[in-house]
């Protein structure tokens, strides 16, 4: 009986607990509901309350995943194209037989150690390789023996130009060298026999050109069936000029002149030099 009394007592006393107002604010709440639904995410029937937000999140995640995949695909494609296009030149080269090094440096050993010949990093910007001394003056240094070596002296990774670009640089170098040789030989033929100082200067000049000639003989330039014999004949003439001593006789000079005439060195030189090419530089 006491329990029943307590329940009745409790229910009666609890009627006042958080007692709601007599009138439910229907219209106000309905207006608020409509406003919130209009302002909030669009209602999608068939499953989803907070689903729109979740779907937006998932959609966002999908977008990011797709973008990342696209970026990776783009990078992979770029790397693949790069490797494919640079593939033939990518193999490391050693020696002058492989001219595709980006900046090959020929180091002369022996008495002329120190002179280097370097190729431009890119044939398009400065396609003509130059022969220069440690002081920077453009010279050719003669190797005392045939102990020439070509090496990539730079340890740092370098860009490898295309074969075509490198070949073009060698061709230009060859033309420049032949022009300079023509100038030397012309000077030699027109010199005064009594001028020993002139002989000494020509001898030094010939020494430089001889060194460069030998380098070119080891280069792809010598692969040309017409240019290689010319370079070999030129090498012979230059050796003779270098070996001329201040006290050499006119007979020695005649032998050189005879070689030039027999082998038509001068004619072949001028033929090998295209019109308009810079000469004697």
């Amino acid at each position: 009986m006491t329990e029943k009394n307590f329940e009745d007592f409790l229910k009666k006393a609890a009627e006042s607990y958080n007692a709601p107002p007599a009138r439910t604010p229907r219209e106000e709440m309905w207006s608020a509901i409509q406003a919130k639904r209009a302002a909030g995410p669009r209602v999608v029937y068939g499953g989803g309350s907070a689903v729109p937000a979740t779907r937006e999140k998932r959609f966002g995640t999908r977008v990011w995943i797709g973008a990342a995949a696209a970026a990776m695909l783009l990078v992979a494609t770029g790397v693949g194209i790069g490797r494919w296009t640079a593939g033939p030149a990518a193999a490391p080269a050693s020696g002058a037989a492989n001219p595709v090094l980006g900046k090959p440096v020929v180091v002369m050993q022996g008495p002329d150690a120190g002179a280097v010949i370097d190729q431009p990093a890119t044939a398009s910007t400065n396609p003509a390789p130059s022969l220069r001394s440690p002081s920077g003056r453009q010279v050719a240094t003669m190797s005392g023996q045939s102990n020439r070596s070509v090496t990539n002296s730079s340890n740092e990774p370098e860009r490898l130009p295309s074969v075509a670009g490198s070949s073009s640089a060698y061709q230009l170098t060859a033309v420049q060298h032949l022009s300079e040789a023509e100038a030397l030989l012309t000077s030699f033929r027109t010199r005064s026999t009594a001028d020993q100082q002139m002989d000494a200067q020509l001898g030094a000049w010939a020494r430089q050109l001889l060194s460069k000639t030998r380098l070119l003989l080891d280069s792809p330039v010598a692969n040309d069936p017409q240019r290689r014999p010319l370079l070999e004949d030129l090498e012979l003439v230059l050796v003779q000029i270098v070996q001329l001593s201040p006290g050499s006789t006119s007979q020695d000079r005649d032998m050189i002149e005879k070689t030039l005439q027999q082998d038509h060195v001068m004619t072949r030189l001028r033929t090998a030099i295209p019109a308009g090419a810079q000469r004697g530089s």
């Binding site: 006393a13 006042s16 607990y17 007692a19 709601p20 107002p21 229907r26 709440m29 639904r37 029937y45």
Partner: protein, 191 residues
């Protein structure tokens, strides 16, 4: 017999109503709202004890119901389903505002809200309110729904997704705690 007939008719009407709502019928939405808003709002107010919160909870309940109504499978009545959402919304909202609500409680105690029974002693009302507020959510919800709003244990069980026996147990536990809290008033119910 008449009650069963009414429930059956109500279920049929609910299904039709839901079908129309899902089809995008705005008038059906309003009709659904009008049918259930009173009870939802009353329960929300009982749990919240604050008109603004009760309105917010009621509005959130219907917004969520309209969004989810496509997933309503008919395992329970529409009213029970709505009450499930309403209680869930209210309890979650109250947890978030619990600290603020506790601070404002002393001020609210001085206010007269709604049509409170004038029979209860003011001191009893205050003690009872504090005692009910101190109950855990599960006990308080069952107590409010059963002893204050008059829901059956079956309805409570479906709404809170608990067995009927659990609902009864929670009510027993709640009453026991309130009996202890109101021990000073024992002569009033013993007499």
């Amino acid at each position: 017999m008449q009650t069963v007939a009414n429930e059956s008719r109500s279920s049929v009407n609910d299904i039709e109503l839901i079908t129309r709502v899902v089809a995008g019928d705005a008038s059906a939405e309003r009709e659904l709202y009008e049918r259930h808003v009173d009870r939802i709002y009353r329960l929300a107010f009982r749990l919240a004890g604050d008109d603004d919160l009760a309105r917010d909870f009621t509005q959130a309940t219907f917004i969520r119901a309209f969004e989810k109504i496509g997933s309503f499978r008919g395992d329970s009545t529409l009213s029970t389903w709505l009450h499930s959402i309403g209680v869930s919304v209210a309890l979650n909202g109250l947890r978030r505002t619990k600290r603020l609500r506790n601070r404002e409680a002393p001020l609210e105690e001085g206010l007269t809200v709604g049509a409170a029974s004038s029979d209860a002693d003011p001191d009893l009302k205050e003690r009872l309110a504090r005692a009910i507020d101190s109950l855990s959510d599960k006990y308080r919800t069952v107590f409010v729904m059963h002893d204050v709003e008059g829901y059956t244990h079956e309805e409570i069980g479906e709404t809170l997704n608990i067995p009927v026996g659990t609902s009864k147990s929670h009510l027993f536990q709640a009453r026991g705690k309130l009996r202890v809290a109101l021990a000073d008033f024992a002569p009033e119910w013993a007499s």
